[in-house]
């Protein structure tokens, strides 16, 4: 593999945790729930998945565990915000803080002063095809989970676009009262969306620890959870748009190491900035088109409207 191929391949891989988390967040946002705690959920998913693989040796168990812990947090978030009308912002910031703290705490409790590493193990089902120049490795050279994640995102996109579930989410996030008047239980939709969405965020964390790097370190998400929130908004809660944004973000981040191998002398600090400036530019260009669901962040009170 040459540098370009590696860059592309690494970017595709790097995009996966971000993409899963952002798509998960977007599902919640569509239903009107803004969870600022994605960072905490991802860390929890990363830690639990790591422990599961480390004890059972099964990647599948790790992925399931990561998704499960995300689902549990999402369920609690959903019940607290949709059923008990707790403030979403406060809850989310609390989850971010508690997630960062708790994962550091429990990691130390369990592993003390050691830093165990996982064996590289996940299979690469179609890597025979990766001989194709330039895009070969990026397209074909991945572990199976990368394909599963992309397939999942397409599936979610299709579900949102073509099934009743998508209609329910859009309606709930946009006009909860109207949705209830159509016979739909808004609370249940929101709790389900939060649960499913944060399960994806937990899965994203799992992808980071067990698929991408192969170990857990406290704080290893280095802000991906917050980027995910931004991408979900900028991508207008559309899974495919978000996936492309995540990919672009991955490529921009991957550019850093590659540019350093060229003749150009660019300070690493500037390379670090590129993706964030990219998002800002995108936001400015999109402007008012960054439309958020009308009821995003607002607790729904049944009696307040009719």
């Amino acid at each position: 593999m040459n540098v370009l191929e590696t860059l592309l391949q690494a970017s595709v891989l790097a995009a996966v945790p971000l993409m899963l988390a952002a798509v998960g967040e977007a599902i919640g946002q569509r239903s009107g729930l803004l969870n600022l705690g994605v960072e905490g959920v991802m860390l929890a998913g990363a830690l639990v998945a790591f422990i599961a693989v480390e004890t059972s040796g099964s990647f599948l168990a790790g992925l399931a565990a990561g998704a499960l812990v995300g689902a549990v947090v999402g369920l609690l978030f959903g019940v607290a915000s949709a059923r008990m009308a707790a403030s979403q912002i406060v809850l989310g910031l609390g989850i971010a803080l508690a997630g960062q703290g708790a994962t550091g705490f429990f990691f130390r409790e369990r592993y003390g002063l050691t830093q165990p590493l996982l064996e590289p193990g996940m299979s690469r089902p179609i890597s025979d095809l990766s001989e194709v120049a330039v895009v070969g490795p990026a397209l074909f050279g991945h572990k199976w989970f990368v394909y599963a994640a992309w397939a999942g995102v397409f599936l979610i996109a299709a579900t949102l676009r073509f099934t009743r579930a998508g209609l329910l989410l859009t309606a709930t996030g946009d006009a909860p009262f109207a949705t209830e008047a159509a016979g739909v239980d808004v609370t249940r939709v929101r709790v389900a969306a939060a649960t499913a969405g944060q399960a994806l965020a937990g899965l994203g964390g799992a992808a980071l620890s067990i698929v991408e790097v192969g170990f857990f370190a406290p704080g290893m998400t280095v802000g991906i959870g917050f980027i995910a929130i931004a991408l979900a908004m900028v991508g207008r809660q559309d899974p495919l748009r978000i996936a492309l944004l995540a990919l672009a973000f991955g490529v921009l981040r991957g550019l850093g190491p590659a540019i350093q191998l060229t003749e150009w002398r660019v300070r690493v600090e500037f390379l670090d900035m590129i993706p964030y400036i990219g998002v800002l530019v995108l936001v400015v260009v999109l402007g008012r088109r960054v439309r958020l669901p009308a009821a995003l962040g607002v607790a729904y009170h049944r009696e307040a409207r009719p």
Binding site: M84, G94, Y300
Partner: protein, 345 residues
């Protein structure tokens, strides 16, 4: 329950709840909660240094919480406080060495003013985008913080670096030219200033007409618009003030605490600022006890891990639990809500 009773009881209950959860976690993980409690009491509450250092730690927290409060006053979420702190610190550290020959008091004033401008400028883009293009400030402020971290690092490692030292750090201000300490404690003038600024803000909110009108902008922008108030201008100005205030935490770092900006310094004040804001139930005066409590927690997280063999992460975790409890406290049967719909983001 009256409003006041509730405003006092609820945060106390939340703190108590978080403490209980902390104790159960300690017990469940084989630590001795009593020993941790004892260490907390002895090192944080009973030692003079504990209270003093908690007060020192309160300083930047209070400033950051005030910045969050000011933005929230007009209905905005300033999630980019850390970036504005860096902007202020860098501006302060850039200017201070040039004013070597000035009397120190004039230097403080000049540095503070310039830093406030820098912090405000760092908030400008999100403010304009929010006011004029309706772009949610949460996204933009988060991005601005990351850019500030990188840009700040580059400046400290490059143009601003103190050539005499190997480690990237800006030229330090002499100890003698830093902000003086109050009564020979470690509490510096900056902490006292932060308290005064909070009091002034509370006064401005209550006894000036922009102070009262800004609340209207936050509570009900359409109503403010109907009164002919320039809502966009209020939003932009409040956000700039919020950024400028946040920058003061950076000024304190340079003029008091460290005298310089360290290359690897990454302030993490945003999340604690919101913890303080909600603990104070968005009442500006209540930010004082709330920030002090979180200051104690911050201090505890630096000294208790060693004394009790706890991972330092235990304390941020408690802060998160506290926030979650505060959120859930607002529980009400949704179908019987009498309160107006919560302010939209």
């Amino acid at each position: 329950m009256g409003h006041l009773t509730r405003d006092i009881a609820v945060p106390l209950l939340a703190v108590l709840g978080a403490a209980l959860i902390g104790v159960s976690l300690l017990a469940a993980t084989g630590h001795d909660p009593l020993a941790v409690g004892e260490a907390f009491g002895r090192r944080v509450l009973l030692r003079g240094a504990g209270i003093e250092e908690s007060a020192v730690a309160m300083g930047p927290l209070l400033i950051a919480a005030l910045a969050a409060w000011i933005a929230a006053r007009v209905g905005l979420w300033n999630i980019g406080i850390d970036g504005q702190v860096i902007a202020g610190a860098i501006a302060a550290a850039t200017l201070a060495p040039f004013l070597d020959t000035w009397p120190r008091e004039s230097m403080w004033v000049a540095v503070t003013v310039v830093a406030i401008v820098a912090g405000a400028l760092w908030a400008l883009l999100p403010a304009l985008l929010r006011a004029h293009a309706g772009i949610n400030e949460i996204v933009t402020t988060i991005m601005m913080t990351y850019v500030a971290f990188s840009l700040g690092s580059w400046l400290v490692e490059g143009p601003l670096r103190d050539e005499a030292l190997v480690t990237p750090v800006t030229v330090a201000i002499d100890v003698g030219r830093r902000l003086p300490r109050v009564f020979d404690t470690r509490i510096h003038l900056g902490v006292a200033a932060a308290v005064v600024i909070v009091l002034l803000t509370a006064a401005a909110a209550r006894w000036t007409s922009p102070g009262i009108l800004s609340r209207l902008v936050g509570e009900s922008a359409p109503a403010a618009h109907r009164l002919g108030l320039p809502v966009e201008r209020y939003v932009v100005v409040a956000f700039l003030v919020s950024g400028g205030v946040a920058a003061l935490a950076g000024v304190a770092e340079v003029l008091a605490t460290r005298g310089a900006v360290q290359g690897d310094w990454r302030p993490v004040l945003t999340l604690p600022a919101f913890a303080a804001l909600f603990l104070a139930r968005q009442n500006v005066l209540a930010l004082l006890p709330a920030a002090f409590l979180l200051g104690m927690l911050a201090y505890a997280s630096t000294v208790l891990p060693r004394a009790t063999d706890l991972a330092p992460d235990f304390f941020p975790m408690l802060e998160g639990v506290l926030l979650i409890l505060l959120a859930v406290e607002r529980w009400q049967r949704p179908e019987r809500a009498q309160a107006p719909a919560e302010r939209s983001i």
